[in-house]
Structures are given as structure tokens and as C-alpha cells.
């Protein structure tokens, strides 16, 4: 009886992430396109917002519970998902392409002898066959892929598939299973947060700086604009390699590929590696002195002027409308 599609929902600090709802909505959509029964799996202790899953078209959630599973464990999560996928007779697993999902999915794939598509950004279904689209070369190319395995794992890129609510009053049956002796061969002993800052991988708005800022001491101009917008701070490779900013902020090939709603590039000329990593943003604003800079070729709106003059003015203007 192999006719299930299973969403693997991620929680952090006992709360389902936005990406979990994206995965749930995607799973519900694919289940109706392929005529499969949709279920979800959540691993963690007590999860505050677990009941919200019903709104996204998922009828049943299996909650694997153990205090020790609040933090991620590659080995424990792999075993739980693999065992349940086998028990339930699953032929599709949907995972979010977060740091957790990207780590976990290949482990499950190996155990289930399943093919795995990473970073899926689009799907097409026709007579029960699914074609997956995914970026390659950091987004400089797109490939269409078919999976030939019996069990298939689809890792969806965050921020691409909208978490659409199917039924505001939808309820999911929640089955709690207590996990005895989870396999903690790999265990997280501590999480070190980076001072409450938004991460470029998850942000809806990103403000990035480049060499045009002339030095790390001027980066506060980028940070202030980001603060005013509630945005994450990003960086070009040039300023990361120069040691101005931490690598976690780097956008582009060898950094993070991002697709926010709004991307504001400040003093970034737009090297091909950078453009590859951010050109799928919905709206792009470029502020750069050189009007010939490649960044303007992909920007929706640009100001070909001095970042030192424009950034403070823009921050002021944003603060004005927000207050």
C-alpha cells in the first residue's frame, strides 16, 4: 500500500518554522495532483503551533516526541523518518531546504534507496510523472530532472513555494509517539546564536554592501537601512574576503543563494558570482556610483549615485513612512 506523500516539518525551539508551512502546503498540492494521501512528520518535544498544520491541507501529523529531540540530531532524525516512511508505505518525502533539511534528506535517501532532488524551485506533473526544476551553477542555469527511483525525496528551496492556507478552519489529527532511546550518535550540545540578527537565507528583505562602502567602518550605513526595513544584512564576496564581514552574510556563489522579496545592493558592482546568487529576488534595487555596473542590468530600480549620500537619505525616508 504505497500511496503516501510525507512532509517532514522542521521545528526550532519547539515552534514550527515558516518553511514547515511551505512544505505542508507544497505536500498538500502534490498530493492532490498525484492522488496520494498527505501526512506530516514532526520531530521534537512539545510543539506550540503544531495544530496550525491543518490549515495547509494536511489531515494527519505524526509527532515523534522526546525531550532530547528538541535539537537536531542527524542520526536520530534519520532513523525516525526512515522507519516511519517504511511503515507508512511512502513514495514521496518533502523536505525544506534549510540547514537541517539539506543535511537530513540525503541520509534518508541513502537508507530508503531513494533519489533526491535538492533545491527544487518548480515542478510539473503530467500523467503521474513529475519533472523537477532546480538551479545549478548557483542559479546561472536551470535543469529539469526526473527521478527514476521508487521512493523520491524532494527538497524544496525556502521562500519559493508560498505557504498557502487551504482552509482557515482545517484540523489535522495529531498522533503523538514517544521515542524511546533515540539514536544520538550525532548530537547537538549547544546552539550559538549570532546576536539576534536575521539570516540572509530566511529574510524577506536583504540589504547588502560591497566594496563601494570603502571600508568596514562605513558598514553601519547598510546596517541602519536594514534595521529600518527589518531586513537582513548581506555582503559581497569581495568584502567577506577582505575580512570586513563574516562569511555567513555572503550572498552569491560560494556564499548563499537567496530569493527575497526585496534585495537592495549598495556599492556592489555585480560580479557574475554575486548576480548568480541573488538575481532570482523578486525586486532588486541597486545603488552604485558607476552607472555601467552590471548590477544595473538586473535591477528593477537604480540610483546611479554615491552610497554615502543616498543610504542615509533612504534610511531617513524609510523611517518616516514606518513611523
Amino acid at each position: 500500500m504505497a500511496n503516501k506523500i510525507l512532509a517532514i516539518l522542521e521545528q526550532r525551539e519547539n515552534k514550527l518554522k515558516r518553511t514547515a508551512f511551505e512544505a505542508a502546503a507544497f505536500t498538500a498540492r502534490l498530493s492532490s495532483e498525484l492522488g496520494l494521501e498527505a501526512e506530516a512528520v514532526v520531530i521534537g518535544n512539545n510543539i506550540e503551533n503544531i495544530s496550525e498544520i491543518g490549515k495547509y491541507g494536511i489531515k494527519k501529523v505524526i509527532h515523534f516526541r522526546n525531550e532530547k529531540l528538541t535539537n537536531y540530531s542527524t542520526s536520530a532524525y534519520t532513523k525516525i523518518v526512515k522507519d516511519y516512511a517504511k511503515e507508512a508505505g511512502t513514495n514521496y518525502l518533502i523536505v525544506s531546504g534549510t540547514s537541517l533539511g539539506r543535511d537530513l534528506a540525503p541520509h534518508i535517501a541513502a537508507r530508503l534507496n531513494a533519489g533526491c532532488v535538492m533545491d527544487c524551485t518548480d515542478i510539473q506533473t503530467s500523467s503521474g510523472e513529475v519533472t523537477y526544476t532546480r538551479p545549478v551553477y548557483a542559479g546561472k542555469g536551470l535543469i529539469d530532472v526526473k527521478l527514476k527511483s521508487v521512493i523520491k525525496i524532494i527538497v524544496i528551496r525556502p521562500n519559493i513555494f508560498k505557504p498557502e492556507i487551504k482552509d482557515e478552519n482545517g484540523k489535522a489529527e495529531i498522533e503523538v509517539r514517544n521515542v524511546e532511546n533515540p539514536d544520538l550518535k550525532n548530537r547537538v550540545t549547544e546552539i550559538k546564536k549570532s546576536e539576534g540578527k536575521l539570516d540572509v537565507a530566511e529574510a524577506d528583505i536583504i540589504v547588502s554592501g560591497g566594496r563601494g562602502l570603502k571600508g568596514p567602518e562605513n558598514y553601519h550605513l547598510v546596517e541602519e537601512l536594514a534595521d529600518a526595513l527589518g531586513a537582513a544584512v548581506g555582503a559581497s564576496r569581495a568584502v567577506v574576503d577582505a575580512g570586513w564581514r563574516d562569511h555567513r552574510e555572503q550572498v552569491g556563489q560560494t556564499g548563499k543563494t537567496v530569493s527575497p522579496t526585496l534585495y537592495i545592493a549598495c556599492g556592489i558592482s555585480g560580479a557574475i558570482q554575486h548576480l548568480a546568487g541573488m538575481s532570482s529576488s523578486k525586486y532588486i534595487v541597486a545603488i552604485n556610483k558607476d552607472k555601467e555596473a552590471p548590477i544595473f542590468s538586473i535591477a528593477d530600480y537604480g540610483i546611479a549615485g554615491d552610497v554615502f549620500e543616498i543610504l542615509p537619505a533612504l534610511t531617513e525616508e524609510i523611517k518616516k513612512i514606518k513611523s
Binding site: 540578527k197 538586473i298 540610483i303
Partner: protein, 250 residues
């Protein structure tokens, strides 16, 4: 102790992608190939462990692919790896095929510590370290920015959204190296000369059936250039108005 480093030969990140005649891969004409950037952190970390052990270990660079991959193995040897292994396959393999071949060789060599780049910058899958670990029944930690191996105990920091996770496990282990793990050394002239004398063993990669079939490759839809609103701060109110009223993003 033997330490394996898995290396891949990839197009330079400055490459402008053109679609090849088969419509499934890139056109290699005029493309410069380099060591996968994340693999450089992997090689460096392996060398540091070797140096810390008082050179009482051997670093072996392994690559799956055609003859051209020898160039990348040679680079690892020039940085200080002791020997190379090329698992030959002239056809493109999917991640499963690559991981199966690597696992077979790592097992034969008996390496207890294995480094990979966290992903290859061509297909960007970030899947080979985990698959290889599963085929070997090794522990695996990916996206690693800090690592300490003390006897059998492995402690690593891996990058996650908004912070880092401290992960503990035991050997044997596969580490997926992230930028920031270390500062890779440049190969010295002496190293480059020495690398020429080091051995690259060649053998066929074990056959593997692919799961992924690429149907076609295309370029992403071209983005239309937008408007330049001005050259000084007088353009700022118009920019904000457009972001609010036209784009509706703020």
C-alpha cells in the same frame, strides 16, 4: 592514520554559463576548471590534522571523473597531500554514483577521517558527504566552520540559520567543509615540484545506476533592466514611492 579528502574538478565561479549542444550540460568551450572552492577548506583541514599528528598520518586525495580531474588531484598534492586516487569514469554521474565510488575506495583504504567540500559549485547538491557516510556507516557533519578531533571524539560547529550548532560525534566521520573553517594555504613552488613526483593511482570507478536523469538544461529567464531613477539623493523619495506603490514590498 589515513585521512581521505574528496575533491572535485569544477568550472571556475567566474564562468558565464552557456548551454551545451546536448541541451543537458554546459558548453565546456573556453571554461577554466578549478578545484571546487569548498574542497580547498577540506584539503587544508586534512593537512592541519596531519601536521598536528606530527606527520604520523597520510592524506589521500580522491576524485571521481575523467582524466581532467588529475589536475585537481595534483593541486591537492601540491598543497601537501601524500597521494592521489582517480576513480575513473568519463561519463557524468549523479551524486549517488559518486558517493558509491568514493565509499568503496575509502573503505578499501581504511580512512577513519574523511573531508569533503560541503557542496560542489557545479550542481550545488550538497549531498555527496551524507550519502558517502551512509554507505560507510560513518558519522557525518556538514557545513562545518570549526572542528576539533581529540582521540575518538569529534566536536564541530556547523552553520545554521542565525547561528551555529555545536555537534558531537565519534570517529569514523565525514566532514563537509564550509568556507570559514580555515584559511587554505597556497601551494609553494617546492610543493608544486614535489607533487609531480607523487603517485596518482588510477582505477575504474565502480559502476552505479543513476537515480537522477537530467532532461534539459536552460538559462534562467533574463531579467529586464529597470529604471535608473537619478544620480543623487533627490531620487530617494521616488524610489520609496515605487517600492511602496508599484512593487508593494515595503
Amino acid at each position: 592514520m589515513k585521512i581521505a579528502v574528496c575533491v572535485n574538478h569544477v568550472p571556475d565561479t567566474a564562468t558565464k554559463v552557456k548551454i551545451g549542444a546536448d541541451q543537458k550540460t554546459i558548453d565546456p568551450a573556453g571554461v577554466t576548471y578549478i578545484v571546487n572552492p569548498y574542497d580547498e577548506f577540506a584539503i587544508e583541514e586534512a593537512l592541519r590534522i596531519k601536521e598536528k599528528s606530527g606527520y604520523d598520518s597520510e592524506v589521500i586525495a580522491i576524485s571521481v571523473g575523467g582524466d581532467q580531474n588529475k589536475e585537481t588531484i595534483r593541486k591537492a598534492l601540491a598543497m601537501g597531500a601524500d597521494k592521489g586516487v582517480l576513480l575513473k569514469d568519463n561519463n557524468t554521474r549523479d551524486s549517488f554514483g559518486i558517493a558509491k565510488a568514493l565509499a568503496e575506495e575509502i573503505k578499501a583504504l581504511g580512512c577513519e577521517i574523511v573531508f569533503c567540500g560541503k557542496q560542489s559549485v557545479d550542481y550545488d547538491n550538497s549531498i555527496v558527504p551524507q550519502l558517502t557516510a551512509e554507505f560507510l556507516n560513518y558519522s557525518c557533519i556538514t557545513v562545518v566552520v570549526s572542528l576539533n578531533i581529540d582521540g575518538n571524539k569529534v566536536t564541530a560547529e556547523r552553520e545554521i540559520e542565525g547561528g551555529k550548532e555545536v555537534v558531537e560525534t565519534e570517529l569514523p566521520v565525514i566532514i563537509g567543509a564550509q568556507k570559514g573553517l580555515n584559511e587554505p594555504r597556497y601551494a609553494s613552488l617546492k610543493g608544486i615540484m614535489a607533487a609531480k613526483k607523487k603517485v596518482i593511482e588510477e582505477k575504474p570507478a565502480i559502476p552505479a545506476e543513476p537515480f537522477n536523469e537530467v532532461l534539459k538544461m536552460q538559462l534562467p529567464p533574463a531579467k529586464q533592466p529597470g529604471r535608473i531613477l537619478g544620480t543623487d539623493k533627490s531620487a530617494v523619495p521616488e524610489l520609496v514611492r515605487l517600492l511602496r506603490e508599484e512593487a508593494k514590498v515595503i
